[in-house]
Amino acid sequence: MITTVTLNPAIDREYFVTNHVPKNHQYIYEEKDIKVYPGGKGLISAIDFKNLGYPDVQNMGFAGGRQGFFFERMVQEYEVTTNYIHTENEIRNNVFIIAKEPVTYTHFNDYTYQVDPQDVEEFVKRFRRGIVDSDFILIAGSIPAGIDFNIYQRLVKICNELGKEVYLQASGKALNLALPEKPKVIVPYFKHTRKILNEKVVEFEDYIRAGRRLLEEGAQYVILPFHCDRLLFTKEEVYSLSPVDFCLKNWLGAGDAYNAAFLDYVFQKGFDFIEANKYAGAAALSVAERKAIFITDRSQIVNNLDRIIIKELEV
């Protein structure tokens, strides 16, 4: 069983229009112009795992309100096992409006979801029994209001108690507090704050400092997004990972593909941080250069392996 955790999932709704003009009332008549799908870091990776052929994949987290049932059914359509705590409040709804003439991309990101403390405790209890058959737990994404920032720390601690490794993609205080529990792999995301461990990350030197600090604070390995590249930190070395002749079509799902493929490599061949990153980069490329948001098969990844260059940096 592969376990991914998404505490703050969403129903993502994409509307494709010719032009997006404020105050203009538009009608959408064709089904292809509206896409509704379950979203959230961790969940997309769970679907990637299914597409890579893993028979048993579960996504754990919260599903909110009446729309939570709809969300859950959408996830099950991908044959991902749902292991959600249902809550009173409604799940988030993200709205994307994508226009052609001119090309505009408007995004309304819903951060209204709130979880009650009782549901959090129920989740923690469910998490403990939910991960018994998993070796490496992928935890990713933001946390809803109502959940203490120490939630990832609590989850990583449970994983440690049960002898499970953790791949954690998180940001801000939730990430900072989880570090002392020594998660195996950390992938910070910080686009919205430009900060890691409360410090601004702008110049290349800031990234190097941040990566090293994450290691000092407890991470065993760090993968740091650096524009279109990644910086890879082990206790001893720093590497850069870059795609060759990269043509971006779509960011959505690329990071999730990276996370899923990293673990896919580990599950198949054992933990080799550099090689797993190379494979993960190739997977991200296969999504970023297409319109789809999921990995569809392994051959896509393998075909891109030669286009991922990893170099050791002298810093």
Partner: protein
């Protein structure tokens, strides 16, 4: 021959033996389920907790056959009874002789099991007896519709 894996609902909503009836009832309400699977600390399927069984334990025996002027009294009595037992453990009210089916069982086998007992839900387990989801009568009927189409 199609197997259960294709038609089951992959959902791990469950309660533990040590959960209270109070929390089990709350989960049933939240998940909109009148029954829930009971698992151990490693998700091994142990049995089922039925809302019907809880009701049987709190309703006066004659409930349902009473004249309407006594109904309010009996509802209050049921609420009082529930108050008394809501802190008790699921393990005291669960049914352990529930049949579970395996992911690899054929749908024809499911038809047999469903026809031969009253279960409208069958819980699905893997080879290690770990809960993996459930399958309903509606899923069975849908399968039969598909079989009919092929013939």
């Amino acid at each position: 021959m199609e197997n259960v894996k294709k038609y089951m609902v992959r959902n791990l909503n469950s309660v533990c033996e040590d959960d209270t009836l109070d929390s089990a009832i709350r989960y049933m309400h939240k998940y909109e389920m009148t029954i829930l699977p009971v698992v151990d600390s490693e998700n091994r399927f142990l049995g089922t907790i039925y809302s019907r069984n809880i009701l049987k334990n709190i309703l006066p025996e004659e409930y349902g056959y009473l004249e309407s002027h006594r109904l309010l009294y009996d509802v209050n009595q049921a609420a009082e009874n529930l108050k008394e037992i809501k802190g008790k453990r699921v393990k005291d009210y669960m049914s352990t002789n529930t049949i579970a089916v395996r992911e690899t069982d054929t749908m024809d086998n499911i038809a047999d099991v469903m026809l031969n007992n009253k279960e409208s839900y069958l819980y699905v387990i893997n080879e290690a007896d770990k809960l993996r989801g459930y399958i309903t009568r509606a899923d069975l009927l849908y399968y039969l519709l598909e079989v009919g189409k092929e013939k």
